[in-house]
Subunit: 220 residues, 2 copies
DNA sequence: GACCTTTGTTGAACGCTGTCCAATAGTCGG
DNA sequence: CCGACTATTGGACAGCGTTCAACAAAGGTC
């Protein structure tokens, strides 16, 4: 009743449901995708706790129970949204020969271009958008960053040391550097894209050359 | 008295409240502090949404309503916890003359020592422990990081450029580098303290010398 | 075309949450 | 010892996420 009232607001599926059929039967995959899209949009707009199952159900034009039928719980639905968005391409694969200066430049440019194209997505993904700095969400984002670290190592031709914990820690730290740098760019506008680019291009090779050897020594 | 002492520590407060006195009247400031301590412990143990007002009230040996009397809402209480913990000293002020190599080493050592002393606090503060990557929580942590950036600039003797947005962005990015590096150390143990120390000591001066001039140019 | 099985979908019911507020009872000054 | 003050209580409330038995749309079968 209240759900129906709210459901009449907007969106094609909703209107269709209200005017033509009281009950719309969809292919499970389609329904799942539809719910996922609506949820992704709402979770992108406002924080986790302020998006209720009722909201999502209303906008999707379905009953609350159906969400639980498909995803089990609100949390699981949210995780699915995060998983889906973390699977979206960010870097893309490099065409040039890996390990060359050109490969590194290409990787950096693609990275920056992806962020430039979807700044809000990047900010959301990076802002640890988790509902409660949650272990599962953190694990997903962590995995994404590890993969990004692999790509970074490959791009600068250091993939032969990808199993070295210290090297991984070092690259992850550099990822933190880049993350903050891009936030300063697209989020706070205290630095422009070209400076971000120059910094990224110059910094990692410099650090690999000058700092990494320092970490290979056993004692100071 | 002793009952209060127990109340601040363990759930014995519940027993004490049930067996001896049905109603314990405290000084508002003490009560506020006690609630804050209990809340800080619980919010540190598990995520925001899994800590209920009832839990906090039970552990503190008080009624749920009293929490709202003191803090207005669960959210406000949480923000207070975050504010309090972000005020805790992390770096400490430097004794040596700022801008020297020794000042930088001292600052780094104090920083590392603080983390080493309370690793869980550092991880909690850094893990964007916010309930929903929330604007207010983010703002508080942001402010803390800006202050830390100021201290960093002072330690390396670059405080005369503290108003330059590009320099600030650069230092903030370095903060991201350090943050990830320390997580790799105390959180994932993929790198040891001494390597973190050497990295921090060597990296920032190197970047200031080699990368910062690059950012001062207007075009590439 | 009518039946029946399958299954996508509903909506009422439940327990728990955060929040409010009138009533209650410790505490202290006179 | 009394009265005023106020810290504290506990029940009421709306809203949340979740469950589940009942319902209805599709598709195969005859």
């Amino acid at each position: 009743m209240l759900a129906w009232g709210a459901a009449t607001r907007e969106h094609e599926a909703v209107n269709a449901a209200e005017t033509t059929a009281r009950r719309v039967r969809m292919d499970p995959d389609e329904r799942r995708d539809q719910i996922l899209r609506v949820a992704a949009r709402l979770f992108g707009d406002r924080p986790y706790s302020e998006v209720s199952i009722s909201d999502i159900a209303a906008e999707a034009g379905i009953a609350r129970g159906l969400l639980h039928h498909y995803f089990g719980s609100k949390r699981e639905l949210y995780l699915e949204v995060v998983r889906a968005s973390s699977r979206e391409p960010l870097g893309g694969d490099t065409a040039a020969v890996l390990g060359t200066e050109q490969a590194w430049a290409t990787a950096v440019d693609r990275f920056l271009q992806a962020i430039d194209h979807h700044p809000e997505r990047w900010l959301a993904a990076v802002n640890v958008g988790g509902p409660e700095s949650d272990d599962e969400v953190a694990a997903i984002l962590d995995e994404t960053r590890e993969i990004l670290a692999d790509h970074t190592l490959a791009a600068i031709g250091l993939d032969d040391r990808a199993d070295d914990p210290v090297v991984r820690a070092f690259i992850r730290a550099w990822g933190g550097f880049v993350q903050e740098l891009t936030i300063e760019w697209v989020g706070r506008a205290r630095i422009d894209r070209d400076r971000v680019r120059r910094t990224m291009l110059a910094t990692l090779p410099l650090l690999v050359e000058r700092i990494l050897p320092l970490l290979d020594e056993h004692d100071a």
